[in-house]
């Protein structure tokens, strides 16, 4: 991307209250930080990961390159609220859905059919593959498989 295009992009994004990123892995992690710790363990090169803002009211990210989304699942009840609100806000930006290559979801098997439900919902709505599922902050096997998988794509 040329500098001019880049600047233009930033301007238009700013007009919509969006923060541009060319990260290959965009993720949400709540204050409990499980997903964040999983991403840290992936040890991807700097700039390849971007975390969605914790506060829903803050400007969300705008992807400028193809990326994979990683999200935890909020469990329980009848499955309502399984996708974190911050992720919904991010995916409500049409350009983000266009560049989305796939989704990785975390969860807890204790939630029965709610296990990794956020991943199923996003895969269905955005017509992308649910690439991988893991529990809580992931085991070392999960880390290896996701790291190698992402390297294979990007």
């Amino acid at each position: 991307m040329t500098r001019g295009a880049d600047l233009h992009h930033i301007r238009s994004a700013a007009a919509q209250g969006l923060v541009p990123t060319d990260a290959r892995l965009i993720y949400f992690s709540s204050a409990s930080g499980y997903t964040h710790r999983f991403v840290q363990k992936l040890a991807l090169p700097e700039g390849q990961t971007a975390r969605l803002p914790l506060i829903t009211k803050e400007p969300t990210l705008e992807a400028t390159a193809p990326f994979v989304l990683l999200t935890p699942t909020y469990g329980g009840g009848d499955g309502k609220g399984a996708v974190p609100k911050q992720v919904i806000k991010f995916l409500n930006v049409e350009g983000n859905r266009r560049l989305l290559q796939g989704v990785i979801a975390s969860g807890n098997t204790n939630f029965n059919e709610g296990y990794c439900l956020a991943g199923y919902i996003i895969a269905r709505k955005c017509q992308v593959p649910l690439m991988y599922k893991f529990e809580l902050m992931g085991t070392s096997d999960d880390v290896t498989r996701v790291r190698e998988g992402l390297e294979g794509i990007f």
Binding site: R37, G81, N112, G119, A123, V128, P129, L130, R145, E148
Partner: protein
């Protein structure tokens, strides 16, 4: 003056929140609320009568053991966390947890009264008082609840919620995977779901509290966690053999224990302890726990696994709004 200050009580204000997690978890617990009366346990009567004598005895003991843990958590454990709460909303969440644990404890009595005779019930409760391993696990946890260390209370509580229940939970999941006592299993799944939120929340609060501690104390608590888990684990192995040898399932149960011990550690922010080759839980059990768990979604491996890709569906922005 000091006497007056001592009696000053602060009213809880849900419009001024210090930790959003308190509200999130409160809402989740409220949305998950249930009572045993909504589960048609009596539909299991036929299935119950088809169990062997060994299987019925095992069921009675498993559920009495679980009752004991829920009783501790409801009347001692969750309540003991209240004085150390940082926010008033955290206190409120513990009262919700305490009540729900009492609902769980009562649920087992619903199972008993629906399926078993008074004699069987009384014998099971006598067994729970006399079983060394069951009493030992209770003692190891209550010792921390009675102690002074707020961190160790949360460690013990998370290990109870996320590890100690599972030697018992295995059995209804096993029966359910063979289409037996399926209504009872539905009730147990509701308990399993609640315990996940409880373990997650108490573990989260533990980690938040840790942030203020010096590195040395944090390391000490980490070592304590692994030591206590191992002590509990050794006892669980004996308990598992005592319960499950009669039906030949002890080795299978132990894998389930390893798997859940790792999850309990993660809830406290620590790395898994048991290696993958010891946590390969019987897929039928995992599937009884969560029907989505045994599908292979490893898109990356390219092993021809089926991954979910939705059929064409126009996504409107409105679709996402809740």
């Amino acid at each position: 003056m000091t006497d007056q200050q001592h009696h000053l009580v602060e009213a809880i204000n849900w419009n001024r929140i210090q930790d959003e997690k308190d509200v999130e978890v409160w809402n989740r617990l409220v949305n998950n609320f249930w009572l045993p009366e909504k589960v048609p346990l009596s539909n299991d009567a036929q299935s119950w009568s088809n169990l062997t004598d060994d299987e019925r005895l095992l069921s009675m003991r498993v559920f009495t053991g679980l009752t004991l843990l829920d009783t501790i958590q409801g009347t001692v454990g969750a309540v003991s966390l209240i004085p150390d709460a940082i926010t008033p909303h955290e206190e409120a969440v513990y009262t919700n947890i305490a009540f729900m644990e009492s609902v769980h404890a009562k649920s087992y009595s619903s199972i008993f009264s629906t399926l078993a005779s008074t004699k069987e019930i009384d014998e099971a409760f006598r067994w729970s008082r006399e079983n060394t391993n069951l009493q030992r696990k209770a003692a190891l946890i209550v010792e921390r609840y009675d102690g002074e260390d707020p961190y160790k209370k949360k460690i013990a509580s998370t290990l109870l919620e996320s590890f100690l229940f599972y030697s018992g939970f295995y059995w209804p999941m096993y029966l359910s995977s063979h289409a037996r006592l399926t209504n009872t299993a539905d009730l147990i799944r509701l308990i399993i779901r609640d315990e996940a939120v409880h373990g997650y929340y108490i573990g989260y609060k533990y980690q938040r509290n840790l942030e203020t501690l010096p590195e040395e104390k944090r390391e000490e608590l980490k070592a304590f966690t692994y030591e206590l888990l191992f002590e509990l684990y050794e006892n669980e192995v004996e308990y598992t053999h005592a319960l499950y040898d009669s039906v030949g399932l002890a080795e299978d149960v132990k894998k389930f224990l390893h798997y859940n011990a790792n999850k309990a550690l993660m809830n406290l922010g620590y790395e898994a302890m048991f290696p993958a080759e010891t946590t390969n839980v019987n897929p039928a059990i995992l599937s009884a726990l969560s029907p989505n768990s045994d599908e292979n979604h490893d898109f990356f491996s390219g092993s021809g696994s089926s991954y979910v890709i939705g059929k064409a569906e126009n996504t409107e922005d409105d679709d996402w709004d809740f």
